[in-house]
Each structure stands twice: as structure tokens, then as C-alpha cells.
Amino acid sequence: MKTSLSKFSPNVLDIDCAKVTAVLEESIREIVFHRLRKKGAVVGLSGGIDSSVTAAICGRALGKDRVFGIMMPENDSSGDSLNLARLLADVLGIKTTVEDIGPTLEVLGCYQRRDDAIRKVIPEYGHGWKSKIVLPNLVESSQYAIYSVVAQSPSGEMKKVRLTAEAYLEVVAATNFKQRIRKTLEYHHAERLWYAVAGTPNRQEYAQGFFVKNGDGSADFKPIAHLYKTQVYQLGGYLGVPEEILRRPPTTDTYSLEQSQEEFYFALPLDQMDLCLYGKNNGVAPDEVATAVGLSTEKVQRVFAMIDSKLHSTRYLHLPPQLIEPVSEVDVTH
């Protein structure tokens, strides 16, 4: 692995927001108007930084009257999410709608299936309980990325139990209904408006497979997928995203117990993971990354191994449908 000649520091992620914004705007216009031949963009608004920046940049690129925001709360959503999404929409001046997906998820059995799966390891889990799934600290130890469920009883008692493979897969498959139903609604509105669906992953999420196939992983274009999380925050400040959203800790907003993205997936605070990802992508030696991030070289090496492991295990999420033979008359390159 080559060593960078210049000193590696957190400043490597600094961007010229004006320049980056200009490039994004031009690219979004080219993609939406010319390549996809759509009239505008639909953005699912979660009240988080990524969807906020995506909506803001689409508004600047396409015109605020050509961006439609959809807020899709469900039974486990934090109340902050809807409030912050509304605040953003007011600031941007874009049209929005609220689609409560809780009833749909109930009919599909999302919550029931999830709870049944948790009961395989916590038999008493039931009405009034809250839960989330978490990873062990993968940086401090060499443990495998095996999830546990953390559950809180109605009386406040906390339990943490390692998930079996079966229970884990069933919990994830049940909660993934949420992302997939949201995407269904985004495409419904996009089709009736003749708009394109904007995906909102940042680089960490896109590269590390932190999305649901045919859920939030599905989109017509993903304008911030190449940007590191800290760069998305820089843009957020530049584009006038409300302070409340800039200050909000990244959350999955998927489980009934508050769950950070760090404990669910990334295993490191996002700014540290950004630097590790950047360093690995650019061939920076682990000891140099370690100095910049404030971790030991051994821990950075572990993070690098985790990144490789996720790239490998989530590759399938990026693959298009596999054909037996090419269909030559279909050109997906332009």
C-alpha cells in the first residue's frame, strides 16, 4: 500500500461548497431533464441530513417548483423526523405530502413478523416493549459482526440477547418492509408527476451497502452517493439546511428504541469512518490514518478489514438482475 507524501488529516475531506454545488446542479439538470427526460424530482424526506441536502440541491438545480417531498412516518418513527422534514420543506419552499405508512406496514405484518422473530430469543417480548438491533464494538475487539437485540420492557427493564441467524434474518426482512413501502410511494408520486426519484445515500452508505435492495437502494439518480458524510454536512451548512437538522445525530429511525447508525452498522462515529474510508480508498497507510483519526494502527487495520468485508458481502445489493444471455437491443449504458 502506498503512503501518501502529504500529511493525511481530517482536512482532506474539506470541499469548496460553491464549486461542488455548481457541479451537482449542472449534473442533476443533465440527468433529470436530458438523460431521464423527466420534469422534476421526488425526494423522500426523513428529517435527516442526507435527504435534506438532496432536496435542497435538487431545488437549486431544477427549481423548487419541480421538487416534491414525501414524508412517510410509521409507528416506530421519531416525532422529530416529521417535524424536521416539515421545517426543511418550509425553508426550501417545496411542495410536500405526508403519507403515514404505519397502517400499510401493519397489514403486511411488518411489526408482527418482527416481534415474532424477536420472541425466538426473548419469549416474553410483546405489546409495549421496544427494541433495536446492535453490533458489538468491532473496532475495540476482533469479534464477528453478529447482531444482538436490545429490548426494553414496558417497566423499563433492558435485555440484550444475541440473535440466532434465523431470528436476525427475519427481523431484518420484516423491518425492510419500511424502506420498500416508502420507495413504492416515491415511485407512485414520481410516475403521476413525471418526475425522477432521487436517492439519498451518502458515500458511506452507498459503498458499504447500508441500504435495502429495492427499498432506499432504489432510485433513478443518487446525487450525493459520491460524497463523504462530512462533506454532506458541509454542503448542508452551505445550502441553508436548518441548524436543527445539522445538529441531529444520524439515526436509522427504523426501530422503536433509538438506534444510532454507528451501533447498527458502521461501528465507528461517522467522522472517523469517513476518514478511514477515504484513507483506504486513496491508499493511505493505516498508521497515517490512525494518527489523523485518533485510533491505534491496529484498530484502523481492523476498520479496513471491516470495509473490505462489507464491500464483499454487500456487492449483491449493487448488482442488476443477472441475465443468462445479454439482450443486445437493450442499451443501459446511456
Binding site: S141, Y144, A145, I146, H312
Partner: protein, 95 residues
């Protein structure tokens, strides 16, 4: 120990080797390096070992030192069974 290795090896072949054949891996091959068994598969392997050999496995023990090859798993199980048997003997002696 040999029997342990054979049982673990057979479970891996039956569950994680998708094509026919005996699996071209040795009992010492690293799962991480060969990609033979990933973290999802480890979960299944752990449950198999727990049930078949009636041992408990703490979260802190789910590390490559114990699980990254057939032989490491067999050694771990053997040492854990040794602890269980010694503990049962102590209880029996105490009674």
C-alpha cells in the same frame, strides 16, 4: 478431536459449499482469507456447535481465534467441553 473436526467440516460442506464435492479446503484454512464462511454463516455455525455439543458460547468468544477454521473450532469445542466436564466432576465430588 479428529471426530470433532470431521463433524464440523461436514456441517460446513453441507451448508456453505454450494457445489457438489468434498470442498477443496483444509481444516487449517482461514475462513476469512478464503471467504468460505462469512459472518452470517458464522451465526449458523455457532448455533450448530451450541446445540450439537451442548456448550454455551459467550459473545466475547465469537472471535476468529476460535472460529476461523475447522481446526480452531474443534479446539475451542474440545477446550470448552473439558471445562464443562471438569465443572461437572467438581459438582459430583462436592456432592
Amino acid at each position: 478431536m479428529q471426530q470433532l473436526e470431521q463433524e464440523v467440516r461436514q456441517f460446513i460442506i453441507d451448508n456453505f459449499v454450494f457445489e457438489n464435492g468434498n470442498g477443496s479446503f483444509s481444516n487449517e484454512d482461514s475462513f476469512l482469507e478464503t471467504g468460505l464462511v462469512d459472518s452470517m454463516s458464522i451465526m449458523t455455525l455457532v448455533e450448530f456447535v451450541k446445540e450439537k455439543y451442548a456448550i454455551s458460547i459467550e459473545d466475547e468468544e465469537l472471535v476468529p481465534d476460535h472460529w476461523d477454521s475447522v481446526s480452531r473450532i474443534a479446539s475451542f469445542v474440545q477446550s470448552r467441553r473439558g471445562l464443562v466436564e471438569a465443572s461437572q466432576q467438581n459438582v459430583a465430588d462436592g456432592a
